[in-house]
């Protein structure tokens, strides 16, 4: 899809979002965590959920490369350019979201001068940059019509990306103090969640941006499988959690299902993000538009899933009665994002939207089929 007139309204929406969201960026840059609704017992909130959402969306590259280079679905290589662009853009959004969530973002150089090899966060950063680098080189290869280099990058990106998404799960899985996060299951679930949400994004892009019906339908079938797997994993997570006999895990799960943000869990995650796309994929499996909308629904519902996963387990006190021992709004088990946090979220979303709308103008070669596939064009 070239940049068309139908892109204009989206660009205006993105522009307005960027403008309104500036206040959130200003607050985060200048006052850091001070204006947030976070506290010491719920130290991670919307910022971390936003980061997890965007890092998951960047997994579309991994999904497509696996399908092309491991399962031999060569036709998917037609969207290699846009998938590469999507991976880069969403990674940048994820990076901004998490950097602005730090109490001292200006000290990020510390990751280089005093790294800790025992910290999953350090490895997360390493793999984050590795993915960024591999995909940046791949983008260059596509633009310069260097097929061997693009192929090499795609192959290298598979293990590197797998390490990245697994490390993000591992990041949570070692936190035994919050048992609803911990355990090897989380690592695998994170990879699956990333593939599903990233797959949703590239499926939508394949249709709305590339008009690739065959590719969209192929991705739709993959999405259906991933969605089914995700549902099984989610059922296992809740079922094992409730039946395992650990009251702290059960309390965290109950907080997800019935807590403050339960409406978003049920409506956005379960309804919009899982069941609606499943229905669209089943009923409209031969319609690229329906499949693309299913992909968009998955993307839209995923923030609620990430939010529930991050916030709900923190509502369980580390020690019974700790939250009552010293009264202060920063020492409670509840968390409500502030206007500044929502505006920052809006800004990051708008940046992503603007990136996708102006992408075809800025990088037309990435938004068309790779040059080496041109003869195959219909």
């Amino acid at each position: 899809m070239a940049y068309t007139k139908r892109s204009n309204p989206l660009l205006i929406v993105a522009g307005l979002g960027l403008l309104a969201g500036l206040y959130g960026v200003f607050e985060a840059l200048v006052y850091r965590t001070e204006p947030t609704g976070l506290g010491s017992y719920v130290p991670w909130g919307l910022g971390v959920a936003l980061y997890l959402l965007f890092l998951g969306l960047s997994a579309g590259g991994l999904l497509v490369n696996c399908l092309v280079y491991i399962l031999g679905k060569k036709e998917l290589d037609r969207i290699a350019g846009v998938v590469t662009y999507a991976t880069l853009l969403t990674e940048v959004c994820a990076g901004i979201a998490i950097a602005l969530d730090l109490g001292h973002w200006e000290r990020m150089y510390r990751f280089i001068v005093s790294p800790s090899l025992t910290s999953p966060m350090f490895w997360m950063l390493i793999f984050f940059n590795a993915v960024l680098l591999v995909y940046a080189i791949k983008a260059l290869a596509i633009v310069t019509n260097n097929q061997p280099l693009a192929r090499l990058c795609s192959l290298v990106s598979i293990p590197v990306s797998l390490c990245f998404y697994a490390t993000n799960g591992y990041f949570f899985s070692i936190i035994t103090s919050h048992p609803a996060w911990s355990g090897a299951f989380t690592t695998i679930w994170f990879v699956l969640a990333a593939l599903l949400s990233g797959g949703g994004l590239v499926t939508a892009l394949a249709w709305f941006s590339q008009d690739e019906s065959e590719v969209t339908l192929r991705l739709g079938r993959t999405l259906a499988v991933l969605l089914a797997c995700f549902l099984i994993f989610e059922w296992l997570y809740f079922s094992a959690g409730y039946r395992g006999g650990r009251p702290d895990i059960a309390a965290a799960l109950t907080a997800m299902l019935t807590g403050q943000a339960a409406w978003s869990f049920w409506l956005l995650h379960i309804g919009l993000g899982l069941f609606l796309p499943l229905a669209l994929l089943l009923v409209g499996r031969n319609s690229p538009a329906a499949v693309a909308w299913a992909g968009l629904c998955i993307v839209a519902g995923f923030l609620a899933y990430r939010y529930a996963f991050v916030v709900a387990p923190q509502s369980v006190p580390m020690l019974p009665g700790l939250d009552k021992a010293w009264q202060d709004p920063r020492l409670t088990l509840t968390y409500t994002p502030t206007l500044g946090e929502w505006l920052l979220t809006l800004w990051v979303f708008s940046l992503g939207l603007a990136g996708f709308v102006v992408g075809p103008r800025l990088f037309p070669r990435l938004f068309s089929r790779p040059a080496w596939l041109q003869p195959l064009a219909r």
């Binding site: 010491s40 130290p43 109490g103 990751f111 800790s116 035994t176 919050h178 020690l319 700790l322 020492l331």
Partner: protein, 250 residues
């Protein structure tokens, strides 16, 4: 005099033993705390003394005292449990820090380099005791009205507290602006700055029931070692494998 009454105040003994530990090689000392729950009356003096000593802002507390009601009416009791940092032997908070801003010092105390901490709050989620706080830049005197004079109004109140330098880790941290320790993880450090000059931690000296015992676990004759050998001794969340250096007497 009843032989069950101590001949000297336990504080005097702990002070003497602290001097002994510091006069040897201080690096060979292993600081340990024992809290006798039977003696804790839930007055929260230790929590307040700690806040005052370390100039802690609103929302940051190193040693809250948890309360629990046990039994059924009419046989109801309240139980109090002060919760400092456990200075774990195997601290999950240290391993997760991505920039080595927190570590165990030679005397077994988990410390933080405020100038290195990036404020990611990973250690807060990793600590099984909720012993770390993030400094969200709160001010007690924000809503205090201005007034002229030396003893009334916001300026005077701030001068006595928030504009005074926090003494942690032997450094005079500047009045609260936007720099560290704002934005950092903060936690109990057994009053490192007081130990360095031969003083017991503030929570120990302020405990009116003498429920908090502090000393060198490597000194076989110390009061703290005596308490660690009590049959009433237990540690919190032993199953986490953190091996706390704070013990409780049930």
């Amino acid at each position: 005099m009843s032989p069950s009454l101590p001949l000297e105040d336990p504080l005097v003994r702990m002070h003497r033993e602290l001097a002994r530990a510091l006069n040897k090689d201080p690096d060979k000392a292993k600081w340990v705390m024992v809290i006798d729950l039977a003696r804790c009356i839930g007055c929260h003096a230790c929590a307040v003394a700690c806040v005052s000593e370390n100039k802690l802002p609103p929302g940051v507390v190193y040693r809250p005292v948890m309360e629990e009601e046990i039994g059924a009416y009419p046989n109801v009791r309240r139980r109090f449990l002060p919760r400092p940092c456990m200075q774990c032997e195997n601290p999950p908070c240290v391993a997760v820090c991505p920039v080595t801003a927190t570590w165990k010092n030679k005397q077994g105390v988990t410390v933080i380099d405020y100038d290195r901490c990036i404020g990611c709050r990973y250690c807060l989620t990793a600590c099984p005791y909720g012993a770390r706080c993030s400094d969200f830049a709160g001010f007690y005197t924000n809503a205090t009205a201005e007034a002229d004079g030396l003893i009334l109004g916001r300026k005077a109140a701030a001068k006595g507290y928030e504009d005074a330098a926090a003494p942690e880790y032997g450094k005079a941290w500047p009045p609260r602006g936007h720099g560290s320790p704002i934005g950092n993880a903060r936690k109990c450090h057994f009053c490192q700055h007081r130990l360095a000059v031969g003083q017991l931690p503030s929570c120990v000296t302020s405990c009116i029931g003498r429920a908090t015992v502090f000393g060198d676990a490597n000194d076989p004759a110390s009061y703290v070692r005596e308490c660690m050998g009590s049959p009433r001794v237990f540690r919190l969340k032993e199953e986490q494998g953190t091996q706390p250096n704070v013990y409780y007497l049930a």
